[in-house]
Symmetry: C2
Subunit: 216 residues, 2 copies
Amino acid sequence: MSSYPIHSRNKVKRVPRNAHYDRATIYEILDAGNLCHLGFSVEGQPFVIPTIYGRIGDRLYLHGASKSRLIKHGEGGHPICVTVTHLDGLVLARSAFHHSMNYRSAVLFGVAKPVGAADKMRALRAISEQLLPGRWEESRLPNAIELKATGILELEIEQASAKIRTGPPVDDAADCALPIWAGVVPLRQQLGTPIPDEALSPNIPFPQSLRDLGYC
Amino acid sequence: MSSYPIHSRNKVKRVPRNAHYDRATIYEILDAGNLCHLGFSVEGQPFVIPTIYGRIGDRLYLHGASKSRLIKHGEGGHPICVTVTHLDGLVLARSAFHHSMNYRSAVLFGVAKPVGAADKMRALRAISEQLLPGRWEESRLPNAIELKATGILELEIEQASAKIRTGPPVDDAADCALPIWAGVVPLRQQLGTPIPDEALSPNIPFPQSLRDLGYC
């Protein structure tokens, strides 16, 4: 897979050795998450909204209520920015200055456009699969009323960049002799034990989508 | 503590029963995190950048390299939006339509301004304490060169809103009889075992900041 073109808006200027522009790296960051932060601007006022997403190739899908500000604005063909970030660790250096985080982030740029009725199911399936693979086939699928109430935006990724920091703290040589503990505290997002809905009948089988995550 | 004023930009329109405008709720969401997504707009182009932050009262502090786009732009007195989101669970409904996430998010609006040299240490301390309480006092504190290389923005929170979803899925009554498993899979951010820096001398004591988190 190729790389995204580098322009001024997606060029990583700080610590450029941590920057990546290839699709493989950026897709991997997107596919590992289920939350993005969507940025859009209305008359110079930026908004940053957390939401879930799905990806098909170079297209990201975002959904919301048809009448929401997000969807209404997105349908106007404005530029948006979507960022996905994974925190991987607290980086504790000897100096306050060199404290950092280990992380993987992807920042995507493009113009949102509305997804037409014919393509809504495919986009919603991508969002559902991103949340929990296999869940779409287990669910009662959207009906015509629900599809109409759901607005979906498609972002064709025009430019993107990833930034990844891994590994130990990097202190100035002069600080390494200081009697200060330094290291990394790993961070990860952890799934807990599924809690069945109270209204669930006892004879309903545990879903394959959760079995595939290791639950039983 | 009082609530933030409600204007069009911070008014939650979708599922307003999940909205909160009081400082206590919004501060709690901010204080529980260490990553925010900062949104700013340059000539109509939105940018969403992941970064760490600190809070002192109604002011949020964000830092970066003095010469970075983020800091340079923020010093211009433009409106910004800062969002902090915690994912608490996958909400698996019987219908695809009612799938959701449990989450807590806070969205802050205001104008960024640069922090002057005299206040930089106090702001950096707040950012450090947000990352790991007690770590600031353990670290080699910033020197004059490091302070000069660090740009800090102050966001006085003018308006804000929080949105919180908790609890089980809410399916349509007609769907509750379907033989489909429904429930919540909890999600949390988990700290792992600290990894000492390889260059660390063996006689350096384990830090109190990490002991306070339960490590030894």
